[in-house]
């Protein structure tokens, strides 16, 4: 085949080019956006990523399956539980191990707690992006409570490494159920403050409603999943589509909006916190008895083949694609990370808005940079 690669033109001379990031307060990490401006209007955005690319996919090729788990913690560090779970599910699918209910239920509760704390951090940092610093402290204050629950059971706050192929690293702590119930009670009581301070605020609504609208067609075409996609009406919740763990036995609503603007992307996350609390409510009192770990062979070797596991993380669809050649190391591991895909739409939806809107839009897509860079 002949080679046709288009020549690339970087910006135009008369445009005002500003670097946002890597050292910028609201790119949430080391994302660099090269923004072409006309006055205050954003004309083009070019994301430059890779500042913290660690080559996790390459590293996975030289380590064993249980060892991969600790790397997934470090991709989307706010969805560490779900990332761990994704790899475990893929490996368990390959080994065709039957997982006891207890493990499934604990994994589900942990995932939902993880989702809540991720959205809390989203709320906190989004408030800060919009200029309301107080949100940041309220969000983190509530998030600490979940992190304490995590720490008590797993020994880690963000980097949990909790699921492992065949089950869980530790059994839940005896206080776990009580603490979770306390937290749910507490959080139901303070969630109205989130609305009072940010969601209902007239300044915030004016700044976000109708800004950065993403249509359903574009959302599907750009593959925007998670709350960002669902705000555009894209029913992409894998917990509904392909229920894994204990999601098939709980009732919850998929939060769907049709507007697809920044405000609804924000709102989808707030509502998801409520849904997550409902899921936990249904499960927390009926954790079945049983082992927390299925005895596995000391060296896990996946049979030759391809294994594809989709998991709904706090930011969207995480796919783990393992190609095994029968060795103890995988031949190829691909993580389809939601943030990486979501970043692709940024230029499309923030064109012709102002700089302040760009911050609002980028914030509402809720990037976690290590997940983009992997």
């Amino acid at each position: 085949m002949e080679e046709i690669v288009k020549e690339v033109v970087i910006g135009e001379q008369e445009e005002y080019i500003i670097n946002m990031g890597p050292q910028h307060p609201s790119t949430h990490g080391v994302l660099r956006l090269v923004v072409s401006l006309k006055g205050e209007i954003v004309k083009n955005i070019e994301p430059h990523i890779g500042y913290i690319h660690r080559g996790i996919e390459k590293m996975c090729e030289s380590i064993t399956y249980p060892q991969i788990i600790h790397l997934t913690d470090r991709m989307d560090y706010l969805s560490a539980m779900m990332n761990n779970e994704a790899v475990c599910l893929a490996v368990e699918k390959g080994l065709e191990v039957e997982i006891p209910d207890r493990i499934k239920v604990i994994r589900t509760i942990m995932s939902e707690l993880s989702r809540i704390q991720s959205h809390q951090l989203f709320w906190a940092s989004y408030g800060m992006d919009m200029g309301g610093q107080t949100c940041f402290f309220y969000g983190l204050r509530d998030r600490e409570k979940i992190l304490d629950i995590f720490e008590e059971t797993t020994g880690g706050r963000m980097i949990v490494s909790y699921s492992c192929p065949g089950g869980l690293m530790y059994d839940i702590h005896p206080n776990f159920q009580k603490r979770v119930k306390d937290f749910i009670k507490y959080f139901r009581g303070v969630l109205w403050e989130y609305d009072a301070i940010l969601s209902g605020n007239v300044i915030f609504r004016e700044r976000t409603i109708g800004i950065g609208t993403l249509t359903l067609e574009d959302a599907v075409s750009y593959g925007i999943t998670g709350p960002s996609g669902r705000a555009s009406g894209f029913a992409c919740d894998i917990r509904k589509q392909e229920p894994y763990s204990a999601y098939d036995r709980v009732k919850f609503n998929e939060v769907l909006y049709t507007q697809g603007d920044t405000y609804h992307r924000y709102l989808a996350r707030i509502e998801e916190m409520r849904e997550s609390m409902n899921i936990i409510d249904q499960l927390i009192d009926n954790i079945p008895e049983g082992p927390y770990f299925v005895k596995m062979k000391p060296v896990i070797k996946l049979p030759e083949g391809e294994y594809f596991q989709r998991v709904e993380t706090a930011r969207g669809e995480l796919d783990v694609f393992i190609i095994s050649d029968g060795n103890k190391n995988p031949y190829r591991v691909k993580f389809r990370s939601p943030n990486f895909v979501n970043l692709g739409v940024l230029n499309h939806i923030s064109k012709d808005f102002k700089i302040a809107d760009l911050i609002a839009i980028a914030g509402s897509l809720d990037f976690v940079i290590p997940d983009i860079d992997r």
Partner: protein
């Protein structure tokens, strides 16, 4: 006319939403009991980490300076990034048999990712996590630790 009503409605709703937010922050200002932050070094005494907290990997020794590490090297194999290095030596036991025991169990705290695989896979439960979290040192070389204490021996009955 409608648009004028709308105009004033907007103002009232807007001001209302602002007042609602101010009510929340004002309430917190006047309730210092809700302060959640702590003075860290001062509260060291009553600061207690959770028992499963992964501070650093240690090798518990009993009062007779004995540990349980047989030097099998499973932790070294399971460590994803070469944090652990087990150096063993062979000694001649009292009954004349040759036996491999650990010389040094080297643990590089600076590289450790706290995945707990070493602790979980150790067949003789020789490793554990401590609650220590103040790891800051001025010299990076101090983060390379030897876990077995000098002169320590294998606990009786552990194979």
């Amino acid at each position: 006319m409608n648009s004028i009503i709308q105009y004033f409605k907007e103002i009232i709703q807007g001001v209302g939403s602002l007042l609602k937010g101010m009510q929340v922050t004002n309430r917190y200002f006047f309730s210092p009991g809700k302060i959640v932050t702590q003075k860290y070094p001062e509260n060291r005494k009553d600061l207690k980490m959770f028992e499963r907290f992964k501070g650093e990997v240690v090798m518990p020794h009993n009062e007779k300076n004995e540990h349980k590490c047989t030097g099998c090297g499973i932790c070294e194999i399971n460590c994803p990034n070469g944090t652990i290095e087990v150096i063993s030596k062979s000694i001649v036991t009292e009954d004349g048999k040759k036996k491999r025991v650990i010389d040094k169990h080297i643990y590089r705290l600076g590289m450790c990712t706290f995945c707990a695989l070493c602790v979980k896979t150790c067949p003789s439960n020789a490793l554990a996590f401590s609650q220590e979290f103040e790891h800051a040192v001025f010299n990076r070389a101090l983060l390379i630790k030897t876990l077995n204490k000098p002169g320590s021996q294998l606990m009786k009955g552990v194979e």
